[in-house]
Amino acid sequence: MAYIKSALEIALEKSNNIDKLSPQEMNKIKQQEKIDNILAKYYKDQIESDDLWKHLKDVSNQFLVMAQNNFLQSLTFQSNDYEVKKRKDGILAIENLKKNNQSANIELYLEQLKNIQDEFQKNKEQVLKNLREELEKDPQKRLQTVQQGNQIVVKQLSLEEALEQNQQLKQKLNQLEEQFKRKYNMVKEELIEIINE
């Protein structure tokens, strides 16, 4: 994902180079500051998604896209249901203010992102269920040994301990997560392209 420099960062770079800021650049910084403030309020639940419309109705398309990108950047594979909904509502509320409204398309992609997360959870639960059944059937796999020379201590792990300590499970879940993360990021990239259109 390409890193988008904020207007403030650009301004700071320019001031480091002792360049003067143009009126357009000054305006850009002001606009971005304003958006950052509004989004911070939204993230802190001080305003609702409907209020975004009121606060951003006079903002130009370019800055609306920037605000949507802000929401998308903070949307990750690990985001929980609440975080996803918050960002989804925010992106769609702003989309309604854009000239080229693509709400239906964006909603579809956001649904896809949610489905990928759900599918991962389902797969993860199935892997855990299979291993749990395997461990229940074969208690030998729940024995833990500590050997030192000619002494060995054997202790039987509870089902939960055995699951927690199972290295193969950890590896399998990591692989599964990587696989779904890749899918998730691909869809997210496509969504970014749509929003930036």
Binding site: L143, V146, Q148, Q151, I152, V153, V154, K155, L159, E160
Partner: protein
């Protein structure tokens, strides 16, 4: 030097993974007594390619003896000798977090003096088959045949020892201890040592009583009794009785 270690680790892992128990002893290790298993480790000779088509199998025989398994708590294990710092750390945190977790300590030894090594004509499977028939004929319930890997045959034997112990623990020792009420399951599904109202582990109670008797009769040194009470963390409970022993003397 590091590479040599890495290669050795890989070879050991290979030997461990490719060893196979061809015949398990019919009997498991005794739950309350000692046991002795007669092992046969079969390997293909390293000189196989120079035998002009005559197939041979190397048969190593010997005995592994096990002392009676001991049901212990992590705290007890922590107080006995012979464990590395790393193992002691693990037991230490277990002793703090789950002091009643039931563990079985196995001690074993090889009797190397009766080890023998023979070169038998025939491939590994046919030689194993012949030995298995001999074992059955002799009705030897504690004999095993292990398919080993070349010069790392002792790794194959270690795998057998470990498997034999975990097999016995699962199929016989833990269930027997549960049946006798010496261990039970806690609310998390873990096996824990059962204690009486005073907090004395039931498994230790009988042993401690018999040790008191032995000290009284002069068959045991008081310090051995003291050590055992310390290992269980029970000296405080028994201290009056312990000091009484000296009054009577």
């Amino acid at each position: 030097m590091m590479k040599e270690f890495d290669d050795m680790d890989k070879r050991i892992q290979y030997a461990f993974e490719n060893s196979k128990i061809l015949k398990w002893p019919k009997q498991l290790l005794s739950s309350f007594g000692s046991s002795e298993v007669h092992y046969h480790v079969l390997t293909e000779p390293v000189y196989q390619e120079f035998t002009n088509g005559v197939t041979e199998t190397v048969v190593r025989e010997g005995k592994v003896s096990w002392f009676p398994p001991q049901l212990l708590t992590p705290g007890y294990i922590l107080r006995i000798e012979g464990f590395s710092e790393e193992a002691r750390k693990a037991f230490s945190s277990l002793a703090n977090d789950m002091p009643d977790i039931a563990s079985i300590l196995y001690r074993f030894q090889f009797k190397r003096e009766i080890d023998s090594m023979n070169f038998v004509t025939g491939n590994l499977e046919s030689v194993a088959d012949k030995i298995a028939k001999d074992i059955d004929k002799k009705d030897d319930n504690l004999a095993a045949i292990i398919k080993g890997v070349g010069d790392l045959w002792d790794i194959s034997l270690s795998k057998f020892i470990l498997d034999m112990m975990t097999r016995s623990a699962r199929q016989s020792h833990f269930p027997e201890l549960r049946k006798k009420g010496l261990i039970s399951y806690n609310q998390f599904g873990q096996q824990v040592v059962s204690r009486d109202k005073q907090g004395i582990p039931l498994v230790a109670k009988k042993e401690i009583e018999s040790m008191f008797d032995m000290v009284r009769k002069g068959e045991m040194e008081p310090k051995d009794l003291k050590n055992e009470l310390d290992r269980w963390g029970l000296f405080e409970i028994y201290q009056d009785r312990f000091f009484d022993l000296f009054k009577r003397r």
